[in-house]
Symmetry: C2
Subunit: 457 residues, 2 copies
């Protein structure tokens, strides 16, 4: 597409959003995308449109923005309006946006936070008091709840009011608590709509099948991974978050679950490749991304030097028979690939909960089995190729034997490394690939050159 066309399209869509003439409502992500296009082509025009955004949507759009645009927001939009925008957000999103702003300008974040309602402040502090991976960090405090002695119609009237005031959206359950706020039941709206609105919730529950509305809950400090599992196993649209005593604190909705699943997949893919996911956001500076990747390359250089020094031990062997230098990378490469297959499958199956420590021995047996069968196949194949290529049968025997040895080690360590990391509560995707190639390169070079020295010379 022509640059101008892109600009015009973005401008048109933003206009239709602002004038409410658009057929299909634009999502915050779309709006952020169009603003980005505007900014790329015409900084001034971008500023104008930014200022025209309603506080009602501004917060949602700001969350979707890369840092450099968020910076424009906090510099160009008056604090009052940003505060209003933050108050429009659900509490988890408000906490998130403030965190982003804090990363850019700590002072400003403090100023905005101080401008918020006392209630909003408390909610945000509560959410931010949890660790990154805890359920509480993903919850929003806005929810539809009622006291067990209330009439259903009173609860529904409250829902109406809170929705009208823009305080509550994306509701899928009514959470019923006792007087003290301990969660007793969770009733999905699809059931609620069928009940007699004049009855109290106690009456409604007592007439239902026992335990029908017993809630699946997330405890605030349990790891988000187990919450995701519960939500998936029971096909839930949202889940209540309670503290260790059962008090209702908030809820986690599926959009947060989606984001989490997607982000953890990205993190895992990146970690396996020696890339730091946090340094690869769309707008991370080149310098920061380069530096983060250099760390892994440095570690790799160090391990490559170790395996090279193995080759150095056999320099005389190589000097007297150069074919060894030609073939040696093949043994290492096949080991690396076999090991990576075992490693990747193990890391992923650990994530998916298919492997646990009680069946770790089975996984290890399986992977070593696969590696050994393929080891035999490729040992034979490569043995024949090497014999014919250099017209020396014993060279075939040497490379075959070392291939088999290396592929065995590859399967074994490809499985053992992530299992061990996981056992010590270290992310099995981080660093495991580098460790593994160190093993497969070292074993590959050593077994091949060692056998050659012993058998051939």
């Amino acid at each position: 597409m022509e640059e101008n066309e892109q600009l015009n399209e973005a401008k048109e869509l933003l206009d239709s959003h602002l004038n409410e003439t658009i057929d299909k409502e634009l999502s915050p992500a779309d709006l952020a995308q169009h603003l980005k296009t505007l900014k790329k082509h015409d900084e001034e025009l971008f500023g104008e449109y930014l200022e025209k955004l309603d506080p009602e949507i501004l917060g949602d759009v700001a969350i979707e923005m890369p840092d450099h645009m968020l910076k424009d927001v906090i510099e160009q939009i008056p604090s009052d309006k940003i505060i209003e925008a933050i108050e429009e957000l659900e509490s988890d999103d408000a906490a998130e946006l403030l965190e982003y702003i804090e990363e850019i300008d700590e002072q400003k974040a403090k100023e905005l936070f101080d401008g918020l309602d006392k209630d909003d402040q408390e909610e945000i502090l509560r959410i931010r008091s949890y660790d990154e991976g805890e359920a509480g960090a993903f919850m929003q405090t806005e929810l539809f709840s009622a006291h067990i002695d209330e009439q259903l119609k009173t609860a529904v009237e409250r829902l109406r009011r809170e929705k009208e005031e823009g305080k509550l959206e994306n509701v899928s359950q009514l959470f019923i608590t006792d007087k003290k706020g301990v969660l007793l039941h969770a009733v999905p709206l699809e059931d609620l709509i069928l009940f007699d609105f004049n009855q109290t919730l106690k009456e409604i529950i007592s007439k239902s099948e026992e335990d029908k509305y017993k809630p699946n809950v997330a405890v605030d400090n349990e790891p988000i991974e187990t919450v995701v599992e519960t939500v998936e196993n029971y096909d839930m649209n949202s889940i209540a978050v309670v503290d260790s005593k059962g008090y209702l604190l908030g809820r986690i909705t599926t959009d947060d679950i989606h984001d989490f699943i997607k982000e953890s997949a990205t993190e895992q893919i990146y970690n396996l490749a020696g890339v730091d996911d946090e340094a690869e956001e769309e707008d991370t500076s080149l310098v920061k991304a380069t530096r983060a990747r250099a760390v892994w390359l440095l570690i790799n250089l160090f391990t490559a030097l170790i395996s090279s020094s193995i080759i150095g031990l056999f320099d005389e062997t190589i000097a007297s028979y150069v074919a060894l230098a030609v073939l040696m990378p093949i043994v290492a490469s096949m080991g690396g690939n076999t090991g990576t297959q075992a490693l990747t499958v193990t890391v992923r199956r650990l994530t998916l909960g298919e492997i646990e420590f009680k069946n770790a021995a089975n996984a290890l047996k399986r992977e070593v089995g696969i590696a050994l069968i393929n080891g035999l196949t490729f040992a034979f194949l490569m043995g024949v190729i090497a014999s014919l290529w250099f017209n020396r049968p014993m060279l075939g025997v040497v490379i075959g034997a070392s291939m088999l040895i290396n592929l065995f080690f590859a399967g074994f360590f490809g499985t053992l490394i992530p299992l061990t990391l996981k056992k010590f509560d270290i992310d099995p995707a981080v660093g495991s690939a580098v460790l593994l190639t160190t093993v497969t390169d070292t074993v590959g070079f050593f077994s091949f050159l060692g056998l050659a020295k012993w058998i051939l010379l």
Copy 2:
């Protein structure tokens, strides 16, 4: 845990499920897991419990089973009961389960299909008529819909009936159609519960804000990826599926979206590592998994032979200066790692929609920039190390220069390969790693040995 303990725990939990004495309902995934433990320790006991499972839950549990257990189901459970279980399932799950059964025993699948109601048969055929990646393949036909002229209370009464009959669950919206079945509006239950049940839907809609209930839809043959994007952008719990003329066909619920996000992440991680995700299911036979992995190892062997033959061109150079054989894998390894970083980031950003073809040039510039800066750093570092190690400064110059060249190519091809594959609609994660290592090995060996021959000898 002791083997016996595992067995007893599984047995206890299954008992409490069957006797309904359990505190928290077990999910189908849990039940399948406990049955698996039983089967592992006591085949006969497993059979007994399998037969005790209610048709109401049997289908859901069967979907979660590995193939070898599903085989037991179709062999041990009478067809009548399996048919009943399939009819209890939502249509998308029924289609899925029949597909699994078909893979095990085509004849049996046909028999079961023939035993289903005509309506169920039609729904399943409709769902199975779509291609694997199309929205229609993910939809279920069970939904809560109403005609625009109906009173809300009539619709709600129908919801009550269909829920009581077990025909409908996980409802989050009412889909409103015209006489012909064209979708007009989608009203979330959290709004529906607030309306006057005696009014017709037409009256309700006409009093609402214009376009408030305009539905975000998925067209039946659009790719599931764009549906996932819509669901995420608008934080939806379910989305209507319509045909090209707007007729309401079904809906896709978040549990299906979850499964899709998770499965595509697994597929991508596996493909990047040269592993076929379909051959790595928990219960795939060792032989099948081994064979699938061997295919990629064979391709890798072939490309490794190509890069080795490059080394063969320089056998005299190596023979006269063995240090080259020692250092040569370092150049290849650093190139491979740098390239993998660029490749992984590009593949993932393509998936996340952060890179499109209109900004591909920017992505390429960025990745080459990162690779070049790191190339300079590591060229210098390795140059110094090699000079000192072998006490020959020009060797440092050679390895530095070839490192820089190889890291440039690594960044360039690491980005270009997935972009090109994607352009031709090939999954950019499949095969790209092998292609890339061919480039980085070949360029690494050729530049290093070539420069050495030219400068050192």
